[in-house]
Symmetry: C2
Subunit: 189 residues, 2 copies
């Protein structure tokens, strides 16, 4: 695909629509680039951390995204101290880099019971491993997977800003803020 055929990148509102179209493709198509974004957080000692996550839900109207996690993972500990995340997606087919800044709310227990019911049995095994994710073990396979509802948590990202960069013969970059209702402004790439 010729990147200069991305006419949506010439208009702020169309570019913003493409941002959410890319995110929605991630939710609904396991092969779409936004299915597996990189989530960056700040560690409890103030250093950056980044890891792959799975995008489970996207709500354009509310400007929120959901990620499922084991409650005992390091990112949960980090987000309890610094409840902000950056989400990064490189959508190669759209030649589009997404950089989202978000405030993160941790949902657990009764707040996630209904969603837990909809998690397939095989996927439930990702929540409740023993020992917890990131703990040292003597041999590579010295752990068991669980299916523990009490270990299931949702990170709900309330998006505050979107930085969208479309690579073409001339790059186009824009920033969208919740505070101005996502009107957007162009930035030098």
């Amino acid at each position: 695909m010729n990147a200069d055929h991305h006419n949506w990148a010439c208009d702020l509102s169309q570019l913003y629509a493409e941002v959410w179209a890319s995110l929605m493709r991630g939710v609904h198509d396991r092969h779409a680039p936004a299915r597996h974004p990189t989530l960056a957080t700040v560690s409890t000692d103030g250093r950056p951390q980044a890891r792959t996550v799975v995008l489970r839900a996207a709500n354009k109207m509310a400007g929120t995204l959901d990620i499922h996690t084991d409650l005992h993972s390091a990112k949960v500990r980090e987000l309890r101290v610094t409840p902000f995340a950056a989400l990064h997606v490189w959508d190669s087919s759209a030649h589009l880099q997404l950089r989202l800044e978000a405030h993160v709310t941790l949902l657990t227990g009764p707040d996630v019971a209904a969603i837990w019911e909809s998690v397939p049995a095989a996927s439930r095994l990702s929540y409740g491993s023993d020992p917890a994710p990131g703990q040292p073990i003597a041999k590579a396979r010295d752990y068991t997977k669980g299916a523990d509802q009490a270990s299931f948590a949702i990170l709900r990202l309330a998006v505050e800003t979107v930085d969208a960069l479309n690579l073409g013969q001339q790059h186009r970059r824009a920033r969208f803020n919740r505070d101005d209702n996502w009107a957007g402004m162009w930035l030098a790439p």
Copy 2:
């Protein structure tokens, strides 16, 4: 490729070798996954940031990685305050996620003159755009590219830890630290 054919993931030293093999593929092959890692930093107000970068050099003996940047980019401002970065790679062919923590040194001026000489003319245009990257502009194309040696900087990442996760029928995860000469330990995935 069947992920369980990744015999290198069964042994800590072989897994560590594969980490650097993946990074070296990124330096030498523009289509390799590690060519375009995600670099996470901490903003001046303490929030996470993440963006795609290009991996330009990797030195396994020294445990260092080089990234080229415009000196006037936001990540340079951020790294002057918090000189730590996380580098994230998802190597799909190896089913391998790399998470590196590094201390970052900013090289400029005479320290990068020799490397600037080796940067192709077309690539030099990425350094010295006006206005600087991330500055607001009225229209999408209201910027000019530069080829300004004074705007060329190198981020030299001294890797401190490597977290390597190999996805297979059973996941394997290990952590390697500079402090113990990269001997490594297994972690619960």
